[in-house]
């Protein structure tokens, strides 16, 4: 058989094989192995996997720590998403101008995105130090927190402390997407609204936001999924503490797997996250009428 005929359009498998192989090894196999794992548990005495049926799943729904981690994750996701969206849109509206200097501002705004999240976590860990952290000092000067109050080591404020890092790093991403959306809007309807006597808030709520809806929906979706999986900031800044105040679902999962060697339970938790994300994302896509 000649080489040319092997790579002919009639044999699509030859072309697809490399991709399918990569997918099978790195995506499909782990996925199915994860399902397999969730019905087993590692037994450290026998040094082997033992079949446990639905024990992991049943246990998960009765695990108070898991629900606590789940609600911490939801709070984290909701607060960060809201703040990043509102700030992102607001900043985008402010710098969506053609004047001199705006180009520079737009470029500078992207800087946080190039810093690795773990490094951002370290930075904020230092900046939020109650003794010599600049952020703590600023919040104290503004009377937002008491002098010497530990931001990250108090269970009341630790989650907010972690969120600050996330918001600092990811708001520019929202700004970027909102700027692209604003840029693509036609100018004329807004001119018409001006002659019709509309104020800024009318234009924002009646025209701009509805016209931006598809792009807002995609931004919220991407960011929301990302926020649900938050791990790096928590790992670097608080390790889930104090206590379990900042323990998110992905951090809890990681702990089950790598600290407690409960591979089966960790697999169950990760599958739960996956199912939850798929269901919520799907509902969101329907509600927001996003068309792919």
């Amino acid at each position: 058989m000649k080489l040319v005929s092997v790579f002919s359009p009639e044999r699509p498998w030859v072309w697809l094989a490399p991709l399918v192989a990569v997918l099978a090894v790195f995506t499909l196999f782990p996925f199915f192995y994860n399902i397999y794992l969730s019905f087993h548990e590692f037994n450290s005495f026998r040094r082997t996997l033992v079949f446990v049926g639905f024990d992991n799943w049943k246990g998960m729904f009765e695990d108070a720590k898991m629900w606590r981690a789940f609600s911490v994750t939801l709070i984290y996701m909701t607060v960060c998403l809201s703040v990043q969206f509102v700030l992102g849109l607001g900043l985008a509206l402010l710098i969506n101008a053609d004047g001199r200097g705006y180009h520079l501002i737009r470029s500078l705004l992207l800087l946080p995105l190039v810093v690795p999240p773990a490094v951002v976590g370290m930075m904020f860990l230092l900046m939020e130090d109650s003794q010599f952290g600049v952020l703590s000092w600023m919040l104290q000067s503004l009377n937002l927190i008491a002098a010497g109050a530990p931001l990250l080591t108090s269970s009341k404020t630790a989650l907010v402390g972690v969120m600050l890092a996330d918001i600092w790093q990811w708001t520019p991403f929202m700004v970027l997407i909102m700027l692209a959306g604003l840029h693509a809007l036609p100018k004329e309807p807004f001119e018409a609204a001006l002659v019709d006597g509309a104020r800024f808030r009318h234009m924002l709520f009646h025209l701009m936001l509805p016209m931006l809806r598809p792009i807002i929906a995609v931004a919220l979706l991407i960011r929301g999924i990302d926020l649900f999986r938050v791990f790096d900031y928590v790992f670097v800044m608080t390790s889930g503490g104090p206590g379990i105040a900042t323990q998110t679902l992905s951090f809890y999962t990681w702990k089950q797997s790598f600290s407690f060697v409960k591979w089966g339970y960790a697999a169950t938790l990760s599958l739960f996250s996956l199912v939850f994300l798929i269901v919520v994302a799907h509902a969101f896509i329907r509600a927001a009428k996003v068309r792919w």
């Binding site: 309807p189 018409a192 001006l194 002659v195 509309a198 104020r199 009646h206």
Partner: protein, 376 residues
């Protein structure tokens, strides 16, 4: 309900290092309740002028006043103008109904009043059946009428319409035109509208401003534009078919005029001669351009100026006869059917002295007649 005045308005766009003079020293004033048509070819600065009045174009020079108050530095919302945009500029997230009522809602008018006003204006423009649609699902003509309705419902002191009927079919256009005219008159609204279509300008406007390359060529009533054009451009632009224009040599005293051919063809030998009984203006050099409207040319078997028929078109109510006077082609419009004039036939044409208009050969401006009376 408002008088408009533009004084020496200029607008230069800067694109990179290129400068585009879109409006050049434009002055015109419109009285209270008057409807003004801006007529001109594509790219002559009509939209720029209108957007300058609305406040979306920063003037390079000049002033704009409404009722005697300078408004050219006010934001659009404070100028008291309503506008229908060339590209409709509808609000995509709002239904047609909400699009039309948007301005009334901003004025905090009661809901019942808004509904009534929207229904009334929608009936006027025949878009009642699509009031609950979104703009994206309306046809271009429906979108355009929505944008027209949105401007008219305001009953603003000054209404600006940028090619408000360009997307409508001829029947609908004629119907909408009369209804809009009645509406504007009934509410004593002043309006400035832009159009390419001289029929539209003629039937809707009280006075027409003809523009070309950013400059105002003439501002006047249809009668003035047709019978006393300011220059060759207006003469050739207004009227359907346009005025016959030709180069000529006027004899001292103005008794006789030699026709030399087309306006851009100066070398040609004389085509023929006209006797104008001293109506021609006194000219130093003798060279001029003359013009005559197609329907004022008389076909006569015994006329001294002779030519051959090139085509004869019967349009149902009038004939367009194209006659070749030996290198110079003129159109003759005859109201009655010109019987059996066939291609190639020899025919005489007569230019009534009163109907002939003279233009300077140098710059194309109209010249006053020796007799001092125009041909109204």
């Amino acid at each position: 309900m408002a008088a408009l005045e533009l004084r020496a308005v200029s607008k230069t766009y800067r694109v990179g290092d290129r400068e585009i003079l879109a409006v050049d020293d434009l002055s015109l004033s419109a009285g209270d309740g008057e409807i003004i048509g801006l007529l001109g070819s594509s790219g002559c600065g009509k939209t720029t002028t209108l957007r300058a009045i609305a406040g979306f174009v920063q003037l390079t020079a000049g002033r704009i006043a409404i009722d005697g108050n300078d408004i050219h530095n006010l934001p659009p919302a404070r100028r008291g103008v309503a506008m229908a945009f060339e590209g409709y500029a509808l609000y995509p997230p709002l239904r047609i109904r909400e699009n039309i009522g948007f301005s009334l809602l901003r004025e905090r008018r009661p809901g019942g009043e808004i509904r009534r006003a929207v229904r009334e204006i929608a009936a006027l423009l025949d878009i009642e059946d699509i009031l609950d649609h979104y703009p994206a699902f309306a046809s271009a003509g429906q979108q355009q009428r929505t944008s027209l309705a949105r401007a008219l419902i305001r009953r603003a002191p000054l209404t600006l319409l940028d090619e408000p009927m360009s997307q409508l079919d001829p029947q609908l256009r004629a119907q909408v035109r009369t209804r809009v005219k009645e509406y504007l008159a009934a509410h004593r609204l002043s309006a400035v509208f832009v159009t390419h279509d001289q029929n539209e300008a003629i039937s809707l406007a009280d006075r027409i401003a003809v523009m070309e390359q950013g400059r105002l060529q003439q501002f006047g009533t249809v009668g003035e534009l047709k019978n006393r054009p300011n220059n060759l451009f207006v003469a050739g632009f207004i009227g359907e078919p346009p005025m016959n224009l030709m180069a000529a040599e006027v004899e001292a005293g103005g008794a006789r005029v030699k026709l030399l051919g087309e306006t851009d063809n100066r070398a040609a030998a004389a085509v023929g001669e006209l006797r104008l009984n001293g109506a021609a203006p006194a000219l130093d050099a003798g060279r001029a351009h003359i013009g005559i409207r197609p329907h004022q040319v008389v076909l006569a078997d015994d006329a001294p100026l002779r030519g051959r028929v090139i085509s004869n078109q019967w349009l149902g109510d009038q004939s367009h006869v194209l006659v070749d006077l030996g290198g110079l082609r003129i159109v003759v419009v005859s109201a009655g059917r010109v019987r059996d004039l066939r291609k190639g036939e020899n025919i005489g044409v007569n230019f009534p002295p009163d109907a002939v208009i003279f233009f300077s050969a140098k710059d194309g401006t109209a010249l006053p007649r020796a007799g001092g009376h125009g041909g109204e």
